[in-house]
Symmetry: C2
Subunit: 683 residues, 2 copies
């Protein structure tokens, strides 16, 4: 299906115009000037020719059914034309016409009609109010830059046409190439996630692509998640902007494309699970794309070396790498000695390498080779930054770097920050099909973001003692707050541990309690409603005091027994489930207590989790040192914690009717953890 | 003094060369080609002429003493030449020659000698190993771009020559101008802070300048602080990079310019106090400079409006402003109606304004005028982003924006992100002397950073009951851990509250205790050494239990009395002092307890603080909600807290021999706060 958008054998333009100030004129001009080689059918009822080519008065006159149709006629006429195209057997339509949902409610209704028509005929439509599609085969985009497109370039799917234009300018000026631009406009039928799905379906693992997304709305979180993960398995990396995530930004997005409010938290959880690197600006996305392209598929390490031709940029680059958690290890003495032999006195040879502004192309080539050979196994990336001291042409320097990029096993990232004085040399460099950064700190940041990108955790079988069927059966039909009884059953079926307890009635039975419930105890009278008011709850009961306590508690009116419960000691954490419209359930994890709550030190994931994913969440809270044990206070076993968090997430998967769940606190030490206070609210 | 660097009436170049591949040749070429109009004396013992100008064989032959001398001769010859220049009465020397401290220890020693010679003759020397100085009057810089310099441009003082080259390219491509570049190289005598001091001395409040600094080392934190604050009072804003602040970056900086390790925390505290906006990359600094220039002196508000010609960029800009704490308030209905009248259907008119890609120059001009007039008082900034839809020349659009910048009272910030397709139009725009951003999110971030920059708190008199003389007298000559007795005296003299207490010996005296020490009490036996082991400390003593307790405590061997102390209730915070080499004392503030410590939720300031400054620190901890009172727990009076923190900071000012001080915890509710546990360690 997508191939027909990228490589259509024939294209029709409905509303083809002589006037290139209009979309219907500009798109024809662009298709022709960029050398579209397939059959081009121009439709215009009033003209014999359009821009020097034969025009057709109606669709009926076309010699055959076109692969792809662009519509650029007034909004009120679009619906009927679309239906006509559908009945002709056209499968792909791009609606450039504006004047729909972005104007008013009537427009929104009309968009719904377009989607219905498209669905009825099994068509995929992009738009309305979009900028078109561009590929190496055709330039179906009616505004902005028309850069050279290459089959091995980036794919960019965008909910904003202007964002494609601007981002592509920024990208092209850095030597990046694209394979496709997809603009989805108002997404009447097909959103960014839908195009991603089509892209995934057409994609083979043999040709990993890096994909950029700009989204104001996410039509289906599930679709985005599944296809992003599937693409990742094929070796693709996705970088994406989801805008409209702050209070004012959300209002702006709603008025722009009618996006629904989605919390920033939910977006982050979704991206984390989908392995998508999140960007907040086009510039940041261009930086990420540059890093991905230069990495040549090697983007997992955390050790880098920095090569510069001046000290200052070397220091700043190293600072930024460190901030991103990337180390710049000292070179081995042999490597240092070898570099010192090669370079003049005053050069830095330890990492960072400062070649000094006198650097020659051969010094650069030799330095890169020495590093790559002698530090193989100690390094994951080489970052090089060169300026332009102004004494010689910079091109031979760039050429030497280009060769290193091509010949070395280690990925080489390059920043050339003198776009004015080395303008001509940079053009030559880019003409070789290579990209570069313009700022070395941005380069270091992008490499760090790439190396730290969220990792996808493959699905795992449920824990063996998690009883999916039983969980669903217990909560089946429950509404509102789940009763203590059902709660206990659900937790048991899910394998979520609760404090050990035993109900007894006599002092004699304390022996039995002693063997099953660890001391000290909490003792609660069973039977009366307002236990606490009646003095029916006693904490911190020792074995010695237990006899007298049970005696007293059994004397309380209506006492049917005494619950002897483990008094759990240790750290308190919280776990929770909440539903996010369109995203399923968010799973929350954080340290318990007022302070942790005030500091918002809580991580969120998207249900269901696998244990590794839960562990990543747990490991990323700031209070991790407390969790691990602090100042003599014993810590929690993090794997056990991750296991329990996984089980909580499975509850949401298996009982979607859970509206909210809170474990506050889950408490304990080492592996001995218990959900002390649990609440589930059903729809 | 600085004027002679910027506007020298005569310049001598020692080591002037025919070879423009050498610094001594290139600098002559640059001075001549950029039209230096003063007297230029070229020194070369072996040539009659250099680059077509008469050459002098020795300094003795010069017709008069030059205002400024550049030295570009081999390192071993520099010292003697400098001495000769000194004896001739030369006051300003810029040493371009390399081969000093950046090479080896011998070079470091030679640098010391240069500084001594300079000091002896009252000379100011820049370098060695620097790139030179550039101003509107002369281009004394031997590498990189030589942009047009303007008296109302930015000043840039840098510890890295390459950083000047690269940053200026980035800046010039955005339409920024400079008044000066100062490169200080190895800073044998004069560092970045010293040049800043000279700049401050020459500066009048009539011509506020924005100043950029790049520093790997800070020679004198005090100098930087004082002159930055003085410049701020003259209306200048400083943006600065201090690099070498991470573990690896520090190592890189040490090997580059021999910078000493300084913690990131100390740098931040210094910048905060000095009102300096901190940047971590040249690109970020260029963004900050652009924001400062476009702000036209109005950089304090937190309300902005966003105008774009496409929806997507508007949403991203709004998101970033919100992240920076800048609101984009909805326009008044009248404003919305007026804009809706002006703009086509589908345009956004609420804030952000989406003009749509069809925007005309007159629509832009009119929109800006309507906003500025009708929303006057509701807004502090207008941010405009335009792309290039490709239908018309973008210059008239830029021209309309340029006019708005010039005519409107509200500062207008502009991002033009299509540097390729609007290349020619952008050149015209920059030729008008205006700058622009290239990315709208970077623009929003820079405006936010500017509005949120640290504010300078003017000095205030000490609190009336802070007894400076007494504090100094008590701690005079103390070493090691300060004794409990002295500690109590110092805290009292400083007005730092401690828990109320009274020493009594009999039950009868409890009446007196009741009237002075609030209940409940902590009762401690006075006399015996290991009180706790003897059961000599009892907490939470009620009035009723006090009689029996005193009776028992007085029976302990060696009991001389019983200390009746207030048992302080409430929140716990920590305050501290620590010394940072070269920076004086850092003052720390944070919430008490293990968790707060683990989360590193602590703010640092530079001693001495004024109460407003202390309050800013207190208000910036993440746990602020807890401090203010949380879930029924009463909070602390923040002004009282700031007062105490100020007093702690004054101790460091008045007794610099304090090595460390900890109050852990300071505890209490509302205004009733007490330093419960205090430790001071002296040198």
């Amino acid at each position: 299906m997508l191939k027909g958008f990228l490589e259509p054998a024939s294209i029709a333009v409905v509303g083809a115009s002589e006037n290139t100030m209009k979309p219907g004129g500009k798109i024809v001009e662009n298709l022709i000037s960029k050398g579209y080689e397939g059959a081009l059918f121009l439709l215009n009822p009033k003209a014999q020719t359009v821009q020097g080519k034969k025009a057709f008065a109606s669709l009926a006159e076309l010699p055959r059914t076109p692969d792809l149709v662009y519509i650029a006629i007034p909004a009120p006429l679009v619906g009927d034309t679309l239906a006509e195209l559908g009945s002709m057997g056209v499968k792909r339509v791009i609606i450039l016409s504006a004047g729909f949902g972005e104007i008013n409610e009537k427009g929104r209704q009309e968009e719904k009609r377009l989607a219905e028509i498209a669905d009825q005929y099994g068509m995929v439509i992009l738009g309305p109010n979009c900028l078109g599609v561009m590929s190496p085969v055709h330039a179906g985009k009616f505004a902005g830059l028309l850069p050279e497109m290459k089959p091995d370039g980036l794919d960019f799917i965008s909910g904003s046409g202007a964002t494609v234009d601007i981002l592509s300018e920024q990208a092209v000026s850095r030597g990046l190439f694209f394979n496709s631009f997809f603009t989805v406009g108002n997404s009447a039928q097909t959103g960014v996630d839908d195009v991603l799905a089509l892209l995934d379906q057409d994609h083979t693992p043999q040709s990993p692509k890096h994909i950029l997304l700009y989204m104001e709305k996410i039509s289906s979180a599930e679709k985005l998640l599944n296809h992003a993960r599937s693409l990742a398995q094929k070796g693709c990396v996705i970088a994406a902007i989801k805008s409209g995530v702050t209070e004012d930004g959300e209002r702006a997005a709603a008025s722009h494309t009618g996006a629904m409010a989605v919390t920033d938290t939910a977006v982050q959880a979704l991206f984390d699970k989908a392995g998508i690197i999140r960007a907040s600006s086009k510039l940041e996305m261009v930086d990420l794309a540059s890093a991905l392209v230069m990495a040549k598929g090697k983007f997992n390490g955390k050790r880098a070396c920095v090569v510069t031709d001046a000290g200052g940029p070397g220091v700043m680059t190293t600072d930024e790498l460190n901030r991103q958690g990337i180390k710049t290890p000292l070179f081995k003495p042999e490597t240092q000695a070898k570099l010192a032999e090669l370079l003049p006195p005053g050069a830095g040879v330890k990492n960072p390498v400062d070649l000094l502004p006198t650097r020659t192309p051969s010094q650069i080539a030799e330095t890169m080779k020495i590093i790559a050979e002698m530090e193989a196994g100690n390094l994951d990336y080489i970052l090089i930054q060169v300026g332009d001291p102004g004494f010689r042409d910079n091109w031979p320097v760039y050429e030497a770097i280009l060769k290193s990029m091509e010949t070395l096993d280690l990925p080489v990232f390059a920043s050339f920050s003198t776009s004015i004085s080395s303008g001509e040399a940079l053009k030559k460099y880019r003409a070789k099909g290579k990209c570069h950064f313009e700022d070395e700190v941005s380069m270091a940041r992008a490499v760090g973001r790439m190396a730290n990108r969220p990792k996808i955790h493959p699905p795992k079988p449920d824990p063996v003692d998690y009883d999916k069927a039983k969980v669903a059966q217990i909560l089946n039909g429950a509404t509102g707050v789940v009763s203590p009884d059902k709660l206990r059953q659900v937790l048991m079926a899910a394998g979520i541990p609760t404090p050990k307890e035993l109900i007894i009635t006599t002092e004699q039975e304390l022996k039995q309690a002693e063997s099953t419930v660890p001391l000290p105890w909490v003792m609660k009278v069973v039977g009366p409603l307002h236990k606490t008011d009646l003095g029916g709850v006693v904490t911190n009961v020792s074995r010695e005091a237990a006899g007298k306590t049970i005696e007293r508690l059994m004397k309380i009116e209506n006492a049917q027994g005494v619950m002897v419960q483990e008094q759990v000691q240790g750290i308190e954490v919280i776990m929770g489930l909440s539903r996010e419209s369109g995203f399923g359930h968010l799973v929350a994890f954080g340290l318990g207590g007022v302070l942790a709550e005030a500091l918002k030190d809580v991580r969120f994931g998207l249900s269901p989790l696998v244990p590794d994913e839960a562990l990543t969440m747990i490991n990323s809270i700031k209070a991790l040192p407390v969790l691990k044990g602090y100042r003599g206070q014993p810590g929690m076993d993090l794997n056990r914690l991750a296991d329990i968090l996984t089980r909580v997430s499975l509850l949401a998967r298996d009982v979607p009717q859970i509206k909210e769940m809170d474990i506050n606190p889950l408490k304990g030490q080492a592996e001995n953890l218990s959900a002390v206070d649990v609440r589930i609210i059903m729809d």
